[in-house]
């Protein structure tokens, strides 16, 4: 297959990265989509309960987390662009920044979970917390998995494993990470604000 050296507007047929990751992204989005739909449908009969306990959530922490994930996603975009131009140094730098922002998310979210645990809140506390904790924790695990993937990629970039000719794995990891970001962008307003 011919390689493009520059990011041009030429139309490629497939999305970036290995094609299999897109099947998994779709499967993941299906699961999250079902959870979101289940949340919304269950809420219909429990509006007061949901609105009451929604107020107990820390919206400010969620805001910082949204900014952290968005920045992280943006840094990953910069890292991909850099590797496509053979700038391994830059690519590595951006990827490390992305990982740092991901870790910021983990720290803030862990603190939130710790608060819930110390208040004795579990999945069985009530329906709202069941959904909130399920969604947030399932997503949290995805962030951890994404960070592991990004770390491996960062290490490989640093070792010089990727270049303008071979960067499929970087794009694969990046696509997964954007999916994690995307899910949080929906989760944030749905569970914290609405």
């Amino acid at each position: 297959m011919s390689k493009k050296q520059l990011m041009t507007t030429k139309i490629t047929k497939y999305p970036p990265g290995e094609i299999i990751i897109w099947l998994f992204i779709m499967a993941e989005l299906m699961v999250f989509g079902l959870f979101f739909a289940a949340y919304a449908v269950t809420r219909i009969d429990n509006i007061e309960l949901f609105e009451l306990y929604q107020q107990n959530l820390d919206t400010t922490a969620a805001l910082y987390n949204t900014i952290a994930l968005l920045s992280s996603s943006y840094f990953v975009v910069r890292s991909v662009i850099a590797i496509k131009h053979n700038q391994q140094q830059d690519s590595f730098k951006w990827m490390v920044l992305a990982i740092i922002m991901g870790l910021v998310f983990i720290i803030i979210k862990t603190d939130e979970f710790a608060h819930h645990v110390s208040n004795g809140i579990t999945l069985s506390t009530n329906t709202f917390y069941m959904f909130y904790l399920s969604l947030a924790f399932f997503h949290y695990l995805h962030v951890i998995l994404g960070l592991i993937i990004l770390s491996v990629i960062a290490r490989n970039i640093n070792k010089g494993a990727y270049s303008a000719k071979e960067y499929t794995n970087v794009e694969t990891g990046a696509s997964y990470w954007h999916m994690v970001d995307l899910v949080w962008l929906i989760l944030f307003p749905l569970v914290y604000v609405m």
Partner: protein, 461 residues
Amino acid sequence: MKYTSQMVAKPYFIAAIGLFVGQILFGIIMGLQYVIGDFLFPEIPFNVARMVHTNLLIVWLLFGFMGASYYLVPEEAETELHSPILAKLMFWIFLIAGAATILGYLLVPYATLAEITMNDLLPTMGREFLEQPTITKIGIVIVALAFLFNIGMTILKGRKTVINLVLLIGLVGLAVFFLFAFYNPDNIVLDKMFWWFVVHLWVEGVWELILGSLLAFVLIKTTGVDREVIEKWLYVIIAMALITGLIGTGHHFFWIGTPGYWQWWGSIFSAMEPIPFFMMTVFAFNMVNKRRREHPNQPAVLWALGTGVMAFLGAGVWGFLHTLSPVNYYTHGTQITAAHGHMAFYGAYVMIVLAIISYAMPMLNGRKAANSAKSQIVEMWSFWLMTISMVFITLFLTGAGILQVYLQRMSDNPLPFMVVQDKIELFYWLREGAGVVFLIGLIVYIASFFIGKDEAEPNEA
């Protein structure tokens, strides 16, 4: 056959088929007890017949898995089996322990069996599928460890292929999750919950790894498709199986005293459990369509394709039908479950074991690659007889189940269990009829081993 030590697989396969016959005979007895309640009572009460039926199934499938492993692991690893003697020894230990256990079920009342095997020291008996005396369970663990050691050493010293690796992971998982059979707390909710760590994580977890690797092996051998392609498929299929199946365990935690959130987790993830089975069907057909050779052993290819389709129908479609918690609320513990169980076990596990037996037996009998044309035709007849009758068994049980759900659980005037059973008797008669056809199919299958024994095999096209 490339290595003489592969020969140890043969007794395992023969024992598997023999026990399979026993399983079906007891199935026929139970089917009759469904309509003639006092048939063989009190000599063989239903609970004993069922125990024999389900335990024989598990034991003969394990024989099949072990035989398959002894056959394919040396060939994949390109080395002789670590210890053929150990394999032969374990065969006899397992067969004798299995036979003794079945005889125990049949000859003495279960409570007496519990007493003489000293169940009270470590009570593990009396739970569905795990009825074996504790001493038998310990025996199973010992046989499994010796088997794993043998297979593991062979893989370690030889070529490490993906098929061998996946098979080994599946077999280790099988042994590890069986250990939950020894956990039997007084608390029935905890008991039920961890009971599923054996049952669910076997059949909807690690067994799928075994299934996948056996299917991949048969397809590599019969289609000649590039190993790289097949191994890639294998990884993706088993990845999906575990990704959906692990949390899919939750579909058993809806109504047994576990928290309500399992209704969401279980429904969502188990709803995706058909995906790996669908991929398996696509995989099997795809590989056969891309075949680089016409393998002379046609029945083996047929069984391999059949297992993909029937596993998808039985485990995938019939499983999905009642896996969502609002549906399962009404169907839980009815004949719908029985319908699903029959087709899923047949499609996923019976057929894959028959596929590997079909592929390996001609070679184990000293032939080059296949049985005579006459024998193959008979075997394919048995395929269709057994498969179609299993489809009908499933359909009749589904019919019985739908009526049962309606009459007993949904109608304005719910009827008692036994009243409902009388009303759906017709379906049980039809199921019994289909069961007899299945037995005929099995007899035809066995006949295929003896027909055209001395005739030459068809040439490779």
